[in-house]
Symmetry: C3
Subunit: 164 residues, 3 copies
Amino acid sequence: MKALFIGGIKSGKSKNAEEYVLKHSKKKPFYLATTEFFDDEMSVKVKKHQTQRGDKFITIEESLQLSKVIKSQDSIILVECVSMWINNMLYHGFSEEDMINQIKELSSRHVDIVFVINDVGCCVVSDNALVRKFVDINGRISQLLASTCQEVYNTVAGINVKIK
Amino acid sequence: MKALFIGGIKSGKSKNAEEYVLKHSKKKPFYLATTEFFDDEMSVKVKKHQTQRGDKFITIEESLQLSKVIKSQDSIILVECVSMWINNMLYHGFSEEDMINQIKELSSRHVDIVFVINDVGCCVVSDNALVRKFVDINGRISQLLASTCQEVYNTVAGINVKIK
Amino acid sequence: MKALFIGGIKSGKSKNAEEYVLKHSKKKPFYLATTEFFDDEMSVKVKKHQTQRGDKFITIEESLQLSKVIKSQDSIILVECVSMWINNMLYHGFSEEDMINQIKELSSRHVDIVFVINDVGCCVVSDNALVRKFVDINGRISQLLASTCQEVYNTVAGINVKIK
């Protein structure tokens, strides 16, 4: 089983994805945190998320090689989040092809994964080339994930709209 | 009864919310205008809105203390819009807690309210700290409102998509 | 028949609109390309799109006077995309009224047209006056198109959500 939660900033996608995973997992699920700590604001945000999660998840931290840490498990793995991972991959010089290959490999494995990704494209095209690149890749990866997941939820104002 | 209309800039959410209120109100409804006149462009915009509304609504103007002006009424109150109110509250130094308390108080009252809020989160994270704060609060207030309203509409290209 | 595909950057709206047109057209459909080549990045992007399309469409290039090139045809015309056309019209000094008149004229013709437009409004209001103007017009044209089309699809992560 693979599912995707997509939504804007503070749309509730992460909270909803966590609830979905806790509801569907028979054993304690895994929380794959992709965030790198670039600054203090991000650290505060992540700490807050960790406190909210409590000990309901087993946390794995990996900001780049998702396919190395996602292995056959008998509980669900929540990837939180794919957009941050794209950001990290870009920052460390990986190509879009590297990212697509990882996602394809993950998609082909017999592992239950719930992906969370930001919807970042409902705005004008940025005048910053790196932002444009990020937005384009994020969109294409969203399409790829949605095409391989059995269930896709678009979260708006905390409400999951099932679109697949 | 409480309802929420959420949508992007010029999605038609306000027009649709007005039509909804006029259709469901037995007496002349109230229009709670939250806009502060920060500049001329905004004044022109508001004047245009007023002309469009004509005398179909009784207009109340309040940019901060919504809970003071929203009292037991036998007709519907349209709050236009919550995002502008969040902006005003931030500008005047109120905290997110102040905002959440007001929203919670409004939600608990036996008054028919239709809220309009902007969807501002489907883009990359801003490099401006105040914008980030606004976007985060706007998202959390959207979730809070959606959880307490009986009906939630996501307006896209003038079309109301009922998501709750 | 008229249909509208609306979605964010790299949401898959163009690809889906192309597939829709190819599926519904009895003869080789027309591809009305509205892009002007302002810079190299755009040229590369357009070349990529052309290669993807191959010879499945008859390409027409017109960046301003859509109503002059869209005439009675016995196959579908794909307008790709309306947002770019709005951008061109603004750049060349045309007014919103000019744009609305063209769209209304197109809508009234007995021609099968599939329109693609960007959803650019789910973000904070820009501090750039021209961007604000573009976003407002794009939103109003979206509403106008959606009101006259028989079918409207909101594309999210490559998935067509039929909203009308």
